[in-house]
Symmetry: C2
Subunit: 345 residues, 2 copies
DNA sequence: CTGAAAGCGCTTACAG
DNA sequence: CTGAAAGCGCTTACAG
């Protein structure tokens, strides 16, 4: 379409070609008040636009933001992109940002607070207009600091009281699982709870426990095992659960699909058949869950939407509109890994 | 450390504070020829640096690149980030770029050529210094166009003849699988081949077929099923393979772990036990492979390194050094899904 | 060793 | 309706 490397032609070039002043061209091409005041003569405007299109003019964003003090850049920080959950959320962000004519910078922190700090500084030094934070820790003092420094930001996936966030209703998600397992007749359950610094982990666990207890069940503290969110984390946790000879749960709730997959592996090595010997339920309903050799029950969370909403919230913040946290609704998907009535056994 | 939003203090501020000229401060803080000519009096230099650190000075990248015509930004385009393989490669890119003081822009194209074009234009309009292309199509005419427009770029993951790329030796990878399955006694094998426009798919398939034939085996055309790279793609492909009553393969090679997982699901619904009834081998050895209920054999490809090497190559291109494509070595990891001697059956 | 000037490509009051 | 000027924050020859 353009046939030429962007940047080869400037506003000045266009102006010279047309015998106009650069400021006129600028007004026509980028003026916001097109409507008001009739910024330019229709004919001139048309000539300018035609030429711009013809030569493939594309404004220099560096020059523009040097003047406007706005980069139209959104910083995104997540623990890792190799976590499918975050990757999908990022796709939602990317989409929404694109629609709003913003670009995004993503960085990963591996949930390490010092890397978090460093990456944030990098983004700020790049002059992003705002930040979407997907790796907030419950004890996060970084956030207070950002607030103090007047950096516009919103949280995604993980919530922290007092800050705007786009998340799944994790408490409800946990409760749905508790209800399901209870209905299937499970009375001895264990939880692979994830990382204690993540609200997702804490809320899902808490939602589960509280519903289960409401239903009349008991969950000893020892039945809650904190772990990493990945397959190995789940494997290790499940292994320690299943190795306990005093208490053999008939079901395990893992707050994350990958941990659940690891748990399936562990069950396997303990000679347990997932589904009939041991029910397992995951969280997020990633694209793998339904395809596993033994299909995994999981709580579907609207990951794409969470990303999109995060962008919307941040844009609102930048626009100085009032923002309120959004909690999206989860849905339980029951599959073979837990579709078995324990009571009938 | 800084306590202030980057950008609040400029070179001019520093200069004023110290009674120096901005140009002097600039030379001291960013001058490359520090060594040559003794750019500044040691004492002055120290004063400047101390103050800069104290007030948390961070140069405005927009202003800098407006002058230097370099953004220190690398554009990265991949089909999707929700593909673990690409996500991990991106982590490698991010790491290497960070080390070299570059930042990256990632965009996704869903392997759609028109989106590809659009996203590339966005990156170019952002004035990235160069492009890492992870979604090249074998019939890719976009690349010629980029070359013509003198856009610096390298390919990653997928190779195209005539362009510099960082990939796995996919042909070898395929051959390793053929050898393994042959050694296990398999004589009737099928291939879930992936997308025909991706060199990864074509090369892995071709490497497999050619080794298998060299060993004396036969692979009819009908045994090669092209498919999407994800779980559903693999499921559908395996389903069509297993539904064929004329020919029941004893092993399936899927050119991608996710497709392999889908195939496992399909095998399951056909009442086949993966491992003993049907061997399955995947590719990439993603973190899931080893953790699946039935551990998946897979060809390990150095994904992180591929990303890192891609950055190195691109930096070389930007530096106008000669570049040559790099093919990294794959390693076969045998696990339960194919660790069974068919001949002994 | 340091200063002064010009300019990268844009935008935005201010005139006319 | 259009032009001219100033300036965003930096860098880079060029003087001295």
């Amino acid at each position: 379409m353009t046939g030429i490397r962007p940047g080869s032609v400037t506003l000045k070039d266009l102006a010279a070609e047309l015998g106009l002043h650069p400021s006129t061209v600028s007004r026509i091409l980028h003026g916001k008040a097109e409507t008001a005041r009739g910024a330019a003569a229709p004919v001139t405007a048309q000539r300018v636009r035609d030429l711009a299109k013809k030569v493939g003019y594309s404004p220099d964003p560096q020059a523009t933001s040097l003047r406007t003090r706005r980069t139209h850049l959104l910083g995104v920080i997540v623990p890792r992109l190799s976590d499918l959950v975050l990757a999908v959320m990022y796709e939602g962000i990317d989409e929404a940002a694109d629609d709003a004519n913003y670009s995004t910078f993503v960085m990963t922190s591996r949930d390490d607070t010092s890397i978090q700090r460093r990456k944030m500084e990098i983004m700020l030094s790049r002059r992003v207009d705002g930040l979407i934070i997907g790796d907030a820790h419950l004890d996060g003092n970084i956030l207070d600091e950002l607030t103090e420094r007047k950096v516009p930001f919103v949280l995604m996936n993980r919530a922290i009281a007092g800050f705007a966030s786009a998340t799944c209703d994790d408490t409800l998600g946990g409760a749905l699982v508790a209800q399901h397992l209870w209905d299937q007749g499970h009375r001895d359950v264990s939880i692979i709870a994830g990382e204690p610094y993540a609200s997702t982990a804490v809320d899902r666990t808490q939602g589960f426990v509280s519903r289960f207890r409401t239903l009349g069940g008991t969950i000893p503290e020892s039945a809650i095992v904190w772990s990493r969110f990945d397959t190995t984390g789940g494997h290790t946790a499940a292994d320690s659960i299943l190795r306990d000879t005093h208490r053999r749960p008939s079901a395990i709730f893992a707050v994350n699909d990958f941990a659940a997959i690891g748990a399936m592996g562990a069950a396997n090595s303990h000679g347990l058949h997932v589904g009939s010997d041991l029910a397992i339920v995951g969280f997020n309903d990633t694209s793998l869950a339904a395809q596993l050799p033994i299909a995994l029950s999981s709580v579907r969370s609207p990951m794409l939407d969470i990303g999109r909403v995060a962008v919307k919230l941040l844009l609102d913040v930048l626009n100085e509109d009032a923002v309120e946290s959004v909690k999206l609704l989860p849905v339980l998907c029951v599959r073979d890994s837990s579709d078995f009535t324990w009571a009938a056994r």
